[in-house]
């Protein structure tokens, strides 16, 4: 049991980015989590921000063009013939 008032929407939204980034302490994190479980509007907002963040995260991989692949292969091949400790050609 706690005497603390429940978190308001304003407070929850102010902490939302840090909540989604995993930057809140455990107690704060749980407070936001409880608010989201009880507030449909804030929950929808949080889901939207979470999905958008995930979409940005998906940009972590880029398609490799044949020409760049060839450049990298050439660089890697140079390591096998160069003396130890030399990066060869860079």
């Amino acid at each position: 049991m706690t005497d603390e008032a429940p978190m308001t929407c304003e407070a929850a939204l102010r902490l939302l980015a840090e909540f989604l980034d995993g930057e809140l302490g455990e107690a704060r994190h749980q407070e936001v989590e409880h608010h989201l479980a009880a507030c449909r509007s804030c929950f929808s907002r949080a889901e939207f921000e979470r999905r958008l963040k995930a979409e940005i995260g998906s940009l972590r991989r880029e398609e490799i063009s044949p020409s760049f692949d060839a450049r990298v292969r050439q660089l890697l091949d140079s390591f096998s013939t160069s003396p130890r400790g030399s990066a060869g050609g860079s």
């Binding site: 980015a17 840090e18 980034d21 995993g22 930057e23 929808s44 907002r45 889901e47 939207f48 921000e49 999905r51 958008l52 963040k53 979409e55 940005i56 995260g57 998906s58 940009l59 972590r60 991989r61 880029e62 398609e63 490799i64 760049f68 692949d69 450049r71 990298v72 660089l75 890697l76 390591f79 096998s80 130890r84 400790g85 030399s86 990066a87 060869g88 050609g89 860079s90």
Partner: protein, 196 residues
């Protein structure tokens, strides 16, 4: 096979497997495709030279991404692209709130519709349009998934600055996506389905 040949073969395979990720992070950081490819090549060369310092091969991916990030940031700091460039922002812009304006409520869940229609190129374009300090902080937080403390250490700025810069960067990113959505027909579609 000699130990050296085995090491070379292992490094080659590990780099090939990680290449799409190395280029992805480089593209988000460096923006310019040619600079991004140069950055990846430099990272691979540096990784090969420093391979003896990698204690566990399981940590290769994170280790290489860190080398790439540090190389980029050292160039960024050295060249001091825009050290005092004013960072204009859109304040507290929220895409979610914009989509929940009354005139758009014909869609039951406009934010879901928006995300379902969001194209990779739209997002890439929006990130590329950010001022460099904003693009870097978004990439470190959302693409590399670094903590605020790690970002603060890499950028040599206080954690509070990371927090505020990230908030402004995300607001600007959402504003760019909103503007693009409007140009791409969000309003037009609302007009088509709305009552007369």
């Amino acid at each position: 096979m000699t130990a050296e040949a085995e090491e070379h073969r292992w490094f080659e395979h590990a780099v090939q497997a990680l290449l799409p990720e190395l280029l992805g992070v480089a593209r988000r950081l460096a923006w310019n495709p040619a600079d991004a490819e140069d950055l990846v090549e430099e990272t691979i060369a540096k990784g090969w030279l420093a391979r003896a310092t990698l204690r566990e091969r399981d940590r290769f991916n994170g280790w290489m991404i860190r080398i790439l990030t540090n190389l980029f940031l050292s160039k960024y700091r050295f060249e001091a692209h825009h050290p005092h460039e004013p960072l204009e922002t859109e304040g507290d812009f929220s895409l979610f709130e914009r989509m929940h304006q009354p005139f758009l409520l014909w869609w039951s869940t406009p934010e879901q519709e928006f995300l379902d229609r969001l194209l990779r190129e739209d997002l890439v374009h929006a990130i590329e349009g950010l001022a460099e300090p904003f693009r870097i902080v978004v990439t470190l937080a959302d693409v590399e998934e670094l903590s605020y403390a790690e970002i603060a250490a890499l950028l040599e700025i206080p954690i509070g600055t990371v927090r505020s810069r990230l908030a402004r960067a995300r607001a600007q990113l959402q504003k760019a996506l909103w503007d693009h959505a409007c140009q791409a027909g969000l309003r037009k579609e609302q007009k088509e389905v709305g009552p007369e």
